[in-house]
C-alpha cells in the first residue's frame, strides 16, 4: 500500500532531494578538481563555492528528509526550503555569471524535479486524480500556510524598516548579479585574468603616478591609490560581500546547528565537551581570534580569502550551537515533544518535526544579523591588511587604500573625499540592510510577539 502523503510535501521533497544531490556532486567536484566548468568569466574561487554548495546541499537534504518525515508543519519550513533553493540558484548565477552554464544548471534542476514528479512511480502520490483535483488538493492543503504568509506580509507592510532593509538587500543582490553589465570586466580580465581584481588605469598611472583622481567620465567614482577604478571596486565588491556573508554565516549556521542539535539532543559527555569548547572560543574577542587564525593559516599556504572565511567561520559557529542548544533544552521537555516520543517517533523525526520548527525563528534572525557582522569583520581584516589580497575588489580594502590620502591639499583638505566616502557608504548600507531586516524579523517572526 502506498502511504498517503500530502502533495505539497511530495513536490518539495523530490525537488529538494534532487537539488541537494546535484549540488553535492557539483560541490565535491569543485572541491576536488577546482573549477570543472568552463565559464565565461574564468575560474572564480571554486574552492569556497564548492564548500558552500556542499553545505547547502547537506542542509537541503536534511530539509528534504524532514519533509519526507511528515511534511512542513508550518509555513516557515516550506518557505525555508524555497529560500535555500533560491540561494543555491543565486549562488550559481553569482559565481558563474550569467553564462550559459548557470542557466543550464538551474534549468537542469527544474527538469529533473519535473521528471521525478511525472514519472509513473510517483503518480500514486497524486492519488490517481486528474490535474485539476491535484491543484485543488494543493490549494486546500496550503490554505492555512497561505493565510499565515498573508499575515506575515501584512506585518511586513506595517513595518517600514523591514521593507527598507529588504529593499537594500535586493539592491545589492541585483548589483552582484549584474556586475558584469554594470562594470565591464574586460579591462580587469585583460590585466589580471580575474574579474574580481580591480583594474588599473595605466594611462593615468603614467600621467599622474599614484595620486587619486577625481571622478570623471572614465571613472564615475574616481580612482584610488595606484589608479584603481573605485566604481569597479564598489560594484564587484558587492559580490565579494555577499559571497563572504553567505559563506561564513551559512557555514557557521550549518556547522553550529548540526553540532548543537547532535550534542544537546543526546546530552551526556558529548554535550559537555561541546559546551566547554564553545566556552573556550568565547574566551576570545571574535575579531582578534579570527585575526590570529588568518595569520596562522596564511603561512600554511591558504589563499587569503579562504583563510579569512575559514577563520570567521571557526569563530562564528559556536554561537549557533549555543543558541540551538538553549532552544532544544527549552523545548525538549515540552509536552508535545514527550507526546511525540511516547507514540514512537524517531529521534530525527522529533528533532526535525518538533524541535527545529519551533526554534527556527531565533536562528533565522541571528543568521540575518550575522551576515552584516561577518561582512564588517571581513572588511576590518581587509583594512588591517590581512583580508582580501592586494587589488581585490573588496570594500574594506578600498577604504584601507584611502588611508594615506585623507588629507587632500592645503587649499582643499577634503579633496580626496571620494576615495573613502563612497566605498564606506557601500559597506555601511549593506550592513545596515541586514541589520534592519534582522531587527524587523525579530518582531515579525517571533511567535510570541507575532499576534500581539
Amino acid at each position: 500500500m502506498v502511504e498517503e502523503r500530502p502533495l505539497g510535501t511530495t513536490l518539495l521533497t523530490l525537488l529538494e532531494a534532487t537539488v541537494g544531490l546535484i549540488e553535492i556532486n557539483l560541490g565535491i567536484l569543485m572541491l576536488l578538481v577546482g573549477n570543472p566548468l568552463p565559464t565565461v568569466l574564468g575560474p572564480i574561487d571554486a574552492f569556497s563555492t564548492g564548500i558552500l554548495l556542499v553545505f547547502l546541499s547537506i542542509m537541503s537534504l536534511f530539509t528534504a528528509y524532514s519533509l519526507w518525515a511528515g511534511g512542513p508543519t508550518n509555513w516557515i519550513q516550506a518557505v525555508l526550503v524555497l529560500v535555500i533553493d533560491a540561494i543555491a540558484k543565486i549562488m550559481l548565477v553569482v559565481t558563474y555569471g550569467t553564462s550559459w552554464i548557470a542557466l543550464a544548471a538551474t534549468l537542469e534542476l527544474d527538469l529533473i524535479a519535473l521528471y521525478y514528479l511525472t514519472r509513473p512511480s510517483t503518480t500514486p502520490f497524486f492519488g490517481g486524480d486528474g490535474v485539476r483535483s491535484v491543484l485543488e488538493k494543493f490549494r486546500i492543503e496550503m490554505q492555512p500556510r497561505i493565510k499565515e504568509l498573508r499575515f506575515t506580509f501584512r506585518l511586513v507592510r506595517k513595518s517600514p524598516l523591514s521593507i527598507v532593509g529588504a529593499a537594500i538587500i535586493i539592491f545589492y543582490v541585483l548589483i552582484a548579479i549584474f556586475a558584469p553589465y554594470l562594470a565591464d570586466p574586460t579591462a580587469a580580465i585583460a590585466q589580471t585574468g580575474d574579474p574580481n581584481m580591480m583594474w588599473k588605469d595605466n594611462e593615468l598611472l603614467r600621467l599622474s603616478s599614484v595620486q587619486p583622481q577625481l571622478p570623471s567620465v572614465n571613472h564615475p567614482f574616481g580612482t584610488m591609490e595606484g589608479q584603481y577604478d573605485i566604481y569597479y571596486g564598489c560594484i564587484w565588491g558587492a559580490r565579494q560581500a555577499l559571497r563572504i556573508g553567505l559563506y561564513v554565516a551559512g557555514g557557521s549556521m550549518l556547522i553550529g546547528l548540526a553540532i548543537g542539535v547532535f550534542a544537546s539532543y543526546y546530552g551526556g559527555w558529548i554535550d559537555e565537551v561541546l559546551m566547554r569548547f564553545t566556552d573556550i572560543i568565547f574566551a576570545f574577542p571574535g575579531l582578534i581570534l579570527s585575526m590570529t587564525l588568518v595569520v596562522i593559516l596564511v603561512p600554511l599556504g591558504f589563499n587569503r580569502l579562504d583563510a579569512v572565511m575559514l577563520s570567521l567561520t571557526i569563530v562564528g559557529w559556536p554561537g549557533y550551537s549555543r543558541l540551538i542548544r538553549g532552544e532544544i533544552l527549552r523545548i525538549k521537555n515540552e509536552d508535545y515533544v514527550e507526546a511525540a516520543k511516547s507514540v514512537g517517533c524517531s529521534d530525527l523525526r522529533v528533532i526535525y518535526k518538533h524541535i527545529l520548527p519551533n526554534s527556527i525563528y531565533p536562528i533565522l534572525i541571528v543568521f540575518t544579523l550575522d551576515i552584516g557582522t561577518v561582512v564588517l569583520g571581513a572588511a576590518a581584516l581587509s583594512f588591517l591588511g590581512i583580508g582580501a589580497p592586494p587589488g581585490y575588489a573588496d570594500w574594506g580594502q578600498i577604504i584601507a587604500l584611502s588611508m594615506n590620502w585623507i588629507y587632500g591639499s592645503p587649499s582643499n583638505p577634503f579633496g580626496n573625499w571620494y576615495t573613502f566616502v563612497i566605498p564606506g557608504l557601500f559597506i555601511s548600507m549593506f550592513v545596515m540592510g541586514w541589520n534592519l531586516l534582522g531587527d524587523a524579523l525579530r518582531d515579525i517572526l517571533d511567535p510570541t510577539m507575532r499576534r500581539k
Binding site: A283, L287, I288, M291, L293, P413, F414, F420, S428
Partner: protein
C-alpha cells in the same frame, strides 16, 4: 549559597576556561612547521640563527603533551612570548604599549556606560517617542558603521579640515619634550594625561587630550550602541511587570515609577552586557589605534598581523583572552553581589 562560596566557585570555573584557551592557542600553533614554532620562543636576536637549539630546549620535537607543558611553563614562568620580526621581545613590547591602550579604554568606558544607560532608559521609558527613535538610529548606526571608516571620516573632518584633533598619541612638541635627555618629564603611571598633570605640564595634558578625542569618540559611540539596545529592551521588560502596575495603582507619579521601580530593575540585566563590552573594546582598540596611529598594543598586534609576524599576534590574543575572561568574572561577581537571586538561585 553565600556570596563567598559563589565567588570562589566562579573563580574555580574560570580556571579551566583559561587553561582551555591556552590549549586552543597551542593547538592552533601546532599547525605551523617546527622552525616557525621555534621563533615563538626566541627571546633575543642571537637565538634566531640557532633555532635548532631552541627546538631542543623547549622540546618542540617531543610528543605534543610534553611540548604543551614546556610551552605553558615558558609562558607562565618566563613570560616568554617570543620576539617580533623587529627583534623586540613581545612581552616587553606589549607592556611598553599597554598604558596607551589603557588610557583610551579608561576614557571611553565611562562614556559608553553613561550614553548606553541614559539613552537606553530614556528610550525604553518613552517608547516610540522622538528620543526612542533617535537612540534606535544610533543603535543601528553603531552596529552598521565600520569603525575604521567612521574613524577615517572623523579624521578627514576634524584633522584634515578643521585641524582640531590630530592623530597619534601626542603632538611633535610634546614628544620632543618628553624624549629630551635633560627633560624634567618623569613617568609615574605611564598614562600621558595623568603624568602631565603630575609633572605640572598643563600644555601636554591639553595636547594629549586633543589627541585622545577622536579615538575615544569612535570607540564610545560604536560600543554604546549595544548597551543602548540592551538597556532599552530590559527597561521595556521591566515596565511590563506586575509591580509597575501595582506602583501605578498606588498612585505614584510616572517619574517615581520609572526612576524608583523600573529603572533599578532594568539596570541589572544591562550590567551583564558590560562583560561583552570588554570584547568590543578590545576589538575596537585594535582598529581605532591603527586608524589614529596611537601606538598601543592593538596597533602593535594589527601591524604585526599585516606582516604575518606571528609571535606578537599570539601574545596579544592570549592577553586579550585573559583580560576578557577576568573581566567577565568580575562582572559575574558584581552581578551576584547586586542581585541576590543569582547566587541563591
Amino acid at each position: 549559597m553565600g556570596l563567598r562560596t559563589y565567588i570562589l566557585r566562579r573563580i574555580i570555573l574560570a580556571i579551566p576556561v583559561l587553561f582551555g584557551a591556552a590549549l586552543f592557542v597551542f593547538a592552533v600553533i601546532q599547525f605551523l612547521p617546527v622552525t616557525l614554532r621555534a621563533t615563538l620562543y626566541v627571546t633575543n636576536e642571537k637565538q634566531i640563527s640557532r633555532l635548532d637549539e631552541i627546538a631542543k630546549l623547549y622540546h618542540l620535537t617531543d610528543p605534543v603533551y610534553v611540548q604543551f607543558y614546556y610551552w605553558l611553563r615558558a609562558l607562565l614562568l618566563e613570560r616568554n612570548l617570543g620576539t617580533d620580526s623587529l627583534g623586540q621581545p613581545v612581552y616587553e613590547a606589549i607592556m611598553k604599549r599597554m598604558p596607551t591602550t589603557v588610557e583610551i579604554v579608561m576614557y571611553a568606558s565611562p562614556i559608553i556606560v553613561a550614553i548606553g544607560l541614559t539613552l537606553g532608559v530614556l528610550s525604553g521609558a518613552n517608547k516610540d517617542k522622538l528620543i526612542d527613535q533617535a537612540s534606535r538610529v544610533l543603535a543601528i548606526m553603531g552596529t552598521s558603521l565600520p569603525s575604521f571608516w567612521f574613524g577615517i571620516v572623523l579624521l578627514s573632518i576634524f584633522y584634515a579640515g578643521l585641524q582640531w584633533f590630530p592623530p597619534q598619541r601626542v603632538g611633535i612638541e610634546a614628544q620632543k619634550f618628553i624624549g629630551m635627555a635633560n627633560s624634567s618629564w618623569r613617568w609615574y603611571t605611564g598614562l600621558v594625561t595623568i603624568d602631565a598633570l603630575i609633572n605640572g605640564q598643563l600644555w601636554i595634558f591639553v595636547d594629549s587630550i586633543r589627541h585622545l578625542v577622536l579615538p575615544v569618540t569612535v570607540l564610545s559611540l560604536l560600543n554604546s550602541a549595544v548597551m543602548v539596545r540592551v538597556t532599552r529592551s530590559s527597561m521595556l521588560e521591566a515596565l511590563s511587570k506586575d509591580y509597575i502596575t501595582a506602583a501605578k495603582a498606588k498612585g505614584l507619579t510616572r517619574k517615581e515609577v520609572i526612576n524608583k521601580h523600573a529603572r533599578r530593575n532594568a539596570l541589572i540585566p544591562a550590567m551583564t552586557i558590560s562583560g561583552l563590552m570588554v570584547a568590543g573594546l578590545l576589538t575596537g582598540v585594535t582598529i581605532t589605534e591603527t586608524v589614529f596611529n596611537m601606538g598601543g598594543i592593538g596597533q602593535y598586534a594589527a601591524r604585526s598581523a599585516t606582516r604575518i609576524d606571528i609571535p606578537p599576534v599570539i601574545g596579544y590574543t592570549i592577553m586579550s583572552a585573559v583580560v576578557f575572561v577576568i573581566s567577565n568574572l568580575i562582572v559575574d561577581i558584581l552581578y551576584a553581589y547586586i542581585d541576590p537571586r543569582i547566587r541563591l538561585g
